[in-house]
């Protein structure tokens, strides 16, 4: 009787372990998908950043919107 109980417990424990492994596998897959989504978002933001940092865009904003000019050599003060 005791041997039978041990045997049945072992079977149930093994089955529980297998179910846990599968569930954890699904969990990891979902986590990976979430990570991929975040990485995709990060990539899109990097692309947007690269576009915004374009020297042509910055130069246009500096000159046309802010009225900035390049300093001439005589205006440059070199700090030793």
């Amino acid at each position: 009787m005791v041997v039978m109980l041990c045997f049945l417990s072992e079977i149930f424990f093994y089955a529980w372990c297998r179910v846990q492994v599968v569930q954890t596998g699904y969990g990891i897959s979902e986590g990976s998908r979430h990570q991929r989504r975040l990485l995709a978002l990060q990539r899109n933001l990097n692309i947007e950043l690269a576009r915004l940092k374009s020297p042509k865009r910055i130069s246009t904003i500096a000159q046309e919107q802010l009225g900035l000019l390049k300093p001439g050599p005589e205006q440059v003060i070199v700090i030793p």
């Binding site: 897959s29 042509k56 130069s59 005589e74």
Partner: protein, 587 residues
């Protein structure tokens, strides 16, 4: 009953029973033996095949959608990168009403309905509907809920600076293979290794188990260039203005570091946008600074002078008779823009005297001139990492006539690339050491680890440091108020340069009277050159066609802005801002 009979009958029954038991035992033994043999056969001999069959039911091999590596400038700013996009495909056999599906798809994708219908009615199992759709198009098609439509994730190349360095970077095709420029040249590194992954699926076809993540995130190597995005932008904007001001056909500008051979900017005008390269004429795709040779004109006089100085045939102050502006060689007559009598070697360069250069060439001879030009790297490829590089054209000196020698001395009858020209002038800036120009700084693996790095490479010393110094003094005289390159004068910096104006060969294979190539090549500051720049403007039509008028101002504006960007301080002290001439370089 006879007891003996009974006993005998009993023994007989026992024997029969024993035989039966034995027969059944043998039968079972044979059966177990057969089962054992079969089990042994399956386990030992058929194990690999059975394992494969079993794994095929739960595992799938999938090709990784490897993302192309990024191309960075020298300060790690993105010049070319890959983005995630969606493509639409269909399984035509699964469509019940192809007509209405084609109508709905054509409205969303703005494509021809008839061609879509032909695709959906085809017998094929898989057809592309549209590659690389916009996110909005993808969402609208998803809302249609059409059975038989697949959304396939892919990568597309994106150039965030649009036309910046477009001819240099090149572009990729729809399948992500490099077709032009550096995209083509570094395709092997950028595209990755083409990995395959095994994913595990359950009975419902859902993927599980970690490891699948790599399937979507494998990447090729990144390429870091020596190009500086800001310097490139300065060169492009300035060159564009210069080409448009003179109503020229095309323009080239290269900015190089003389000491190392690093290319900071490599610019070809007119530009194109590599994001939509098929909308532009193919002639715009070419990296003409590297692939197209041109006759350099007077910029080549520098190397004629180098030959004379290096062989000791002349000194900077050696006088030559300039024939008062007209010099006859056989049936040909060479002219100078401004007639002069006696001029020194320095003045030949300063005033860009064709007659002086011809006289100099006669003195040094074709062999010495040819050897000097080849030592400066003309007629050989520089080895830059760009596809389709030209070696230029320089005929062997044994085939030169007297007129050829004179013409080559002032830059006609020889073809060079803009890259060869700026490299050769950089050797003068670099105390006579010729460097290999390079555009590749490093190749990095996806984790940022170094795969390859380019080190500065000295090809050879082409002239002594004394000759290089004398040449720098002559080049500084060119940018003096009396020199042809005075429009390249930079307030606060000492500049060395040389103008060039060459007649082009027209369709009739003779020198044209109205088609010219204007150029200016030089470096600054003269004391410790940080940048060498060449500007080539092809066929200027408005106003003057001379390099001194068309190309020198472009050089000046690029040099001024780039020196400022590179934090090279302007000159101070006695003479202040106007101390650029007279110049005596002693270092």
């Amino acid at each position: 009953m006879n007891p003996w009979y009974n006993k005998a009958a009993k023994n007989q029954d026992g024997d029969r029973l024993s035989r039966r038991i034995l027969t059944i035992g043998i039968f079972f033994a044979l059966m177990f033996g057969a089962i054992g043999a079969r089990a042994f056969h399956l386990h030992v001999f058929q194990s690999p095949w059975l394992s494969k069959v079993a794994s095929n039911q739960v595992e799938r091999s999938v090709d990784a959608r490897e993302k192309r590596g990024t191309i960075y400038d020298s300060k790690h700013r993105e010049l070319a990168m890959s983005i995630d996009v969606m493509s639409i495909a269909a399984s035509p056999r699964r469509f019940e009403d192809a007509q209405s599906a084609a109508e709905a798809l054509s409205q969303i994708l703005d494509t021809d309905k008839a061609s879509l219908l032909a695709k959906l009615n085809s017998e094929r199992r898989f057809v592309w509907i549209k590659r690389h759709v916009t996110p909005r198009e993808g969402e609208r098609i998803q809302l249609l809920g059409l059975d038989g439509i697949s959304f396939i994730p892919e990568h597309s190349r994106f150039y965030p600076n649009k036309a910046l360095a477009a001819q240099l970077l090149g572009f990729t095709g729809i399948d992500g293979h490099g077709l032009e420029g550096l995209e083509y040249n570094f395709d092997r590194h950028l595209k990755g290794s083409g990995q395959r992954f095994t994913v595990v699926r359950d009975a419902l076809g859902r993927r599980f188990m970690p490891g699948e993540f790599n399937l979507f995130d494998t990447r090729g190597n990144d390429v870091v260039l020596t190009i500086d995005q800001t310097v490139q932008y300065i060169a492009e904007r300035t060159l564009e203005a210069g080409v448009n001001a003179s109503d020229a056909e095309t323009g080239i500008a290269i900015v190089m570091v003389p000491r190392t051979g690093e290319i900071l900017a490599l610019d070809n005008y007119p530009y194109f946008n590599p994001n939509t390269f098929s909308d532009f004429d193919q002639t715009r795709w070419r990296n003409r600074a590297v692939t197209d040779p041109f006759e350099p004109g007077s910029t080549l006089k520098l190397f004629t002078a180098a030959a004379a100085l290096e062989t000791g045939i002349a000194r900077p102050e050696t006088l030559f008779f300039a024939e008062n502006g007209k010099y006859r060689i056989g049936r040909n007559t060479i002219h100078d823009e401004h007639p002069r009598a006696w001029i020194s070697l320095t003045q030949i360069i300063q005033y860009s005297s064709n007659i002086g250069a011809a006289k100099l060439a006669e003195k040094i001879g074709p062999r010495t001139l040819y050897d000097t030009l080849t030592r400066f790297g003309f007629s050989e490829k520089t080895g830059i990492e760009c596809p389709g590089e030209t070696a230029g054209l320089l005929l062997p000196c044994r085939r030169w006539s007297r007129m050829d020698t004179s013409a080559i001395a002032f830059g006609q009858g020889i073809s060079v690339s803009a890259l060869q020209l700026v490299r050769a002038v950089s050797a003068i800036a670099n105390d006579g050491y010729l460097m290999r120009p390079h555009i590749l700084k490093a190749i990095l693996d996806p984790n940022g680890g170094l795969v390859q790095r380019t080190q500065p490479e000295t090809i050879r010393q082409v002239v002594s440091s004394e000759t290089a110094r004398d040449l720098r003094n002559m080049m500084a005289a060119v940018v003096s108020p009396e020199g042809t390159g005075r429009r390249a004068f930079l307030k606060g910096y000492r500049v060395c340069g040389k103008t060039g104006t060459a007649q082009k060969v027209d369709e009739s294979k003779s020198y044209s009277e109205d088609k010219f190539t204007a150029s200016f090549v030089g470096f600054a500051p003269a004391e410790r050159p940080e940048i060498a720049i060449v500007v080539v403007i092809d066929e200027p039509k408005k106003g003057s066609y001379h390099g001194s008028v068309v190309a020198a101002p472009v050089f000046r504006r690029i040099a001024l802005e780039v020196l400022d960007y590179m934090n090279v301080p302007p000159l101070r002290g006695p003479g202040g801002m106007n101390a650029s001439y007279p110049l005596e370089i002693t270092g």
